[in-house]
């Protein structure tokens, strides 16, 4: 088939470029799954303990919404991995969607594909190579995960099913990203489309999983994440569910190929229209430019956060409806607070939003680096714009944007909560819980700025730092890590509001650390070469 000519060479090129990235992702995900399984096996060796925990989880809508349902309350495997099933699968989806867009639309947008396309490379070869790499990575990840889980002592069949659950989600999102990459000329927008789809299908299964018997439980069946969870590893291993995921992947791939066959190189389905011949008065200085470049992202993220806040505030009322027994109460309390299950729920959800806001913050701060490597910074810095002012224009958007998002989510959750309780003071209480997260998010932005100024080539390590902080928070207590290790994460220091006493000192420290990191980064940036 000449249309696939050269696919092998492109696969090798992609593997050469991703030789560090892909193994690191695989190791992080496998270690997270095996680590949390190993720790749980020790903690919940008796069936009674597992039933207690699993029943508690299943009866807590917020946990089911976040992680998914436990189908066999006696299953050691399910209890061990209930956090990693849904959330872990979402991380696998992020991995494969970024990989596919990176090797298709990004290459095309940068013009590199044009160079390759003039060599004897088939029309579908770049798409096929990207899918082969992403899907191959998913399969390797699934197999290694299965082996690691068998290694720590979980049943073999369930472990293979769990590995395939992850692999299936990876494959499905690789195909979906291939489709998204055909729609638009911009790799950034392609990533956005695929990422937003992931968020939507995650919410679909959350709504389906939490629905009561007569409710819209079928929503879970509209979601690739839902299909993966319906494989039910360690709880019956329904292998046929895998067929749905693979069927979806085949359909999405066919759609991508059909679109690719009809379009020109460097074209999308969405065409450009002519724009203004003159810049508006707002496109004035570096801040005007940075806002123009980043405003779309800020608005979409803020809207999503407001929506998320409404959902969280509305769900809060159902927390604890079915709770029985002191151990269940203890379990919820362990998740994030001292007084009141609802407070614990709200503070835990706001902490998760803070991690997500950090994703935005890192992405926004990384824009400085992509502007520089794309040679967009050079003409601006050749004008009267100083380096520090230029850098601030992007840093301010990262800092203010993440603060605005958390404020929006806090206000929305507070209003939704107050609508239930008819107590207006709840607005301020919930908003406070969101605002205390802001300095922790700023620390992550500070880390990216410091890397950008001092070691620009390592600036993507900001993502790795976030993953480490996230894992410290999610798995640290389970793995019984020492306090100093937990203290490395800024999120450890945030007071668990609403509910806990307001402690200002750690917030000030977080802000000081963020300011120090930013100052160090700017000092480094002032001294180094551009480009």
């Amino acid at each position: 088939m000449t249309a696939l000519l050269g696919t092998g060479a492109l696969v090798r090129l992609a593997l050469r470029r991703d030789r560090i990235l892909l193994p690191v992702w695989i190791v992080v995900l496998v270690v997270s799954a095996a680590g949390s399984a190993a720790a749980t096996i020790g903690l919940y060796s008796s069936v009674a303990d597992r039933v207690q925990l699993a029943t508690t989880v299943d009866n807590t809508s917020s946990l089911v919404a976040l992680y998914g349902r436990i189908y066999d309350v006696t299953s050691l495997g399910e209890v061990s991995l209930f956090k990693m099933g849904g959330l872990g699968a979402a991380m696998v989806a992020v991995l494969t969607l970024l990989t596919v867009v990176r090797h298709t639309r990004t290459e095309e947008e940068s013009g590199r594909l044009e160079l390759l396309g003039a060599t004897p490379v088939g029309r579908y070869a770049p798409l096929a190579a990207a899918l082969a790499v992403a899907m191959g990575t998913s399969l390797v990840l699934g197999l290694v995960t299965a082996l690691a889980l068998i290694g720590v002592g979980l049943p073999a069949a369930g472990s293979v099913a769990f590995g395939m659950e992850w692999a299936g989600v990876g494959i499905a999102f690789a195909a979906l990203a291939a489709l998204a990459a055909q729609l638009t000329r911009s790799a950034r927008i392609a990533n956005g489309i695929a990422g937003a789809t992931l968020a939507v299908v995650y919410v679909l299964r959350a709504v389906g999983d939490t629905a009561s018997a007569g409710g819209p439980t079928w929503l879970s069946w509209l979601s690739p994440i839902g299909w993966a969870q319906q494989l039910r590893p360690y709880a019956g291993n329904r292998w046929w569910a895998l067929a749905i995921t693979l069927g979806f992947a085949v359909a999405a791939t066919a759609g991508a190929v059909a679109l690719a066959a009809r379009r020109d190189l460097d074209a999308g389905l969405i065409h450009d229209r002519p724009g203004p011949a003159h810049a508006s008065a707002r496109l004035r200085g570096p801040f005007g430019l940075a806002w123009r470049l980043q405003r779309g992202l800020v608005l979409v993220w803020t809207a999503s956060f407001v929506f998320g806040g409404v959902v969280i505030g509305g769900l809060a009322a159902s927390v604890g409806d079915f709770l029985t027994g002191p151990q269940a109460q203890e379990f919820i309390t362990e998740l994030g607070g001292q007084q009141g299950l609802i407070n614990a729920f709200l503070s835990a959800e706001l902490a998760i939003l803070a991690v997500i806001a950090s994703v935005y913050g890192i992405q926004a701060a990384l824009r400085m680096r992509s502007e520089e490597t794309a040679l967009h910074a050079e003409p601006v810095l050749a004008t009267a714009t100083g380096r520090i002012r230029w850098a601030w224009s992007h840093i301010v958007i990262a800092l203010a944007g993440s603060a605005v998002m958390l404020t929006g989510a806090g206000l929305a959750a507070g209003v939704a909560r107050a609508a239930d309780t008819h107590d207006a003071r709840d607005i301020a209480r919930v908003l406070g819980g969101a605002l205390v997260q802001v300095p922790a998010v700023w620390v992550l932005i500070g880390i990216v700025v410091a890397l950008y100024g001092l070691a620009p080539r390592l600036v993507s390590a900001g993502w790795a730092v976030l993953v480490v902080f996230l894992l410290l928070g999610e798995l640290g207590p389970l793995l019984k890590l020492r306090q100093w290790a937990m203290d490395l994460s800024p999120f450890t220091h945030v007071p668990r509001l609403p509910g806990a006493p307001v402690t200002v000192v750690p917030l000030i420290w977080l802000a000081v650390v963020a300011a120090g990191l930013t100052a160090a980064g700017l000092a480094g940036f002032r001294r180094r070469d551009i480009g």
Binding site: S186, P274, G275, L283, L293, E378, P379, A382, T383, G531
Partner: protein, 304 residues
């Protein structure tokens, strides 16, 4: 005569490579100065040091009586830059980019902007991602030429332009020089530099190997002389400064050192001249002279 740019002993290293290795450069106020060299000679690196984007490792650099690393904000108000590799924000239109860069520099002349857009036949409503290489170059050129600045730093500005647009570009540069602007023009296109530049600096492997007006540079080289004479050109070959003599009957072809040209012509006149052509060296020949050993083969790899 004041200097707009003066660089002495400039060194810039990237890791182990020395991109600039003791470069000297002087651009006088009000002149068009050509910075000539092949790919990788250090032209763009020099300009980026002048812009304060790169930090010099050694040497002195003065730009418009300031320090390009320290006085960025004040200096950059007085200059405009066209990068060799123009990359623009894909979702902004060309018109928006021109206005933005102009405003960042401190304003541009709207009449001149309109005039330039018309002359360069550039549609300002197109999104930058849809522009060809030449059109992206035009966006940067319009933004630079419409700005009210003293100094233009142009890094291979015509690399993507067609011959018609190239002519428009030359017209504007000539006009700008007449209005007293200083232009530093890097290029490897010899005819362009020959047509526009008052003075030229030839750089090679990060060093300036020659600098001066074209007349100065020619002075150090040979003029090709072809003469039909009344008698055989005996004794000419023995004269000092005469090289590569070819004689066919009464016809002579020789390369003559330019400072010996007068003596040789007197001798020829004495023999009786029927026809005579003297061709001064083109910039290309000057250039080739400095790179001749490189063309002859890689001589850098001398065994230790």
């Amino acid at each position: 005569m004041t200097t707009a740019v003066s660089v002495a002993g400039l060194v810039k290293r990237f890791g182990r490579t020395r991109a600039l290795d003791g470069l000297d450069l002087e651009v006088r106020t009000g002149e068009v100065h050509g910075l000539l060299g092949p790919n990788g000679a250090g032209k763009s690196t020099t300009i980026r040091v002048l812009l304060g984007l790169l930090r010099a490792d050694a040497g002195t650099v003065r730009l418009l009586e300031g320090d390009p690393w320290r006085d960025i904000a004040t200096l950059h108000r007085r200059l405009a830059y066209v990068p060799g590799d123009v990359s623009l924000w894909p979702n902004l239109t060309g018109g928006e980019v021109i206005d933005l860069l102009g405003r960042l520099r401190g304003g541009l002349d709207p009449n001149r902007r309109a005039d330039l857009l018309a002359r360069f036949e550039l549609d300002p409503t197109t999104k930058c991602r849809a522009y060809s290489k030449g059109n992206r170059q035009k966006v940067a050129l319009v933004a630079a030429l419409a700005s009210d600045v003293e100094l233009l730093l142009l890094d291979e500005p015509t690399a993507g332009l067609d011959p018609l647009m190239d002519a428009v570009f030359r017209e504007y540069i000539t006009q700008d020089r007449d209005r007293g602007r200083t232009v530093l023009l890097s290029s490897h296109i010899l005819s362009e530099v020959e047509a526009l530049a008052d003075r030229v600096t030839i750089i090679r492997a990060g060093k300036a190997v020659d600098s001066g007006t074209l007349t100065d540079l020619r002075h150090l080289t040979r003029t090709a002389v072809v003469a039909d004479l009344a008698a055989p050109p005996d004794g000419i070959a023995a004269m000092p400064g005469v090289h590569g003599v070819e004689v066919r009957g009464n016809r002579l072809r020789a390369d003559v050192d330019t400072d010996r040209l007068g003596d040789v012509l007197r001798q020829l006149t004495a023999l009786g001249v029927r026809s005579l052509t003297c061709q001064p060296p083109t910039l290309e020949e000057l250039f080739l002279r400095h790179y001749a050993d490189q063309l002859a083969g890689p001589r850098e790899k001398v065994p230790a």
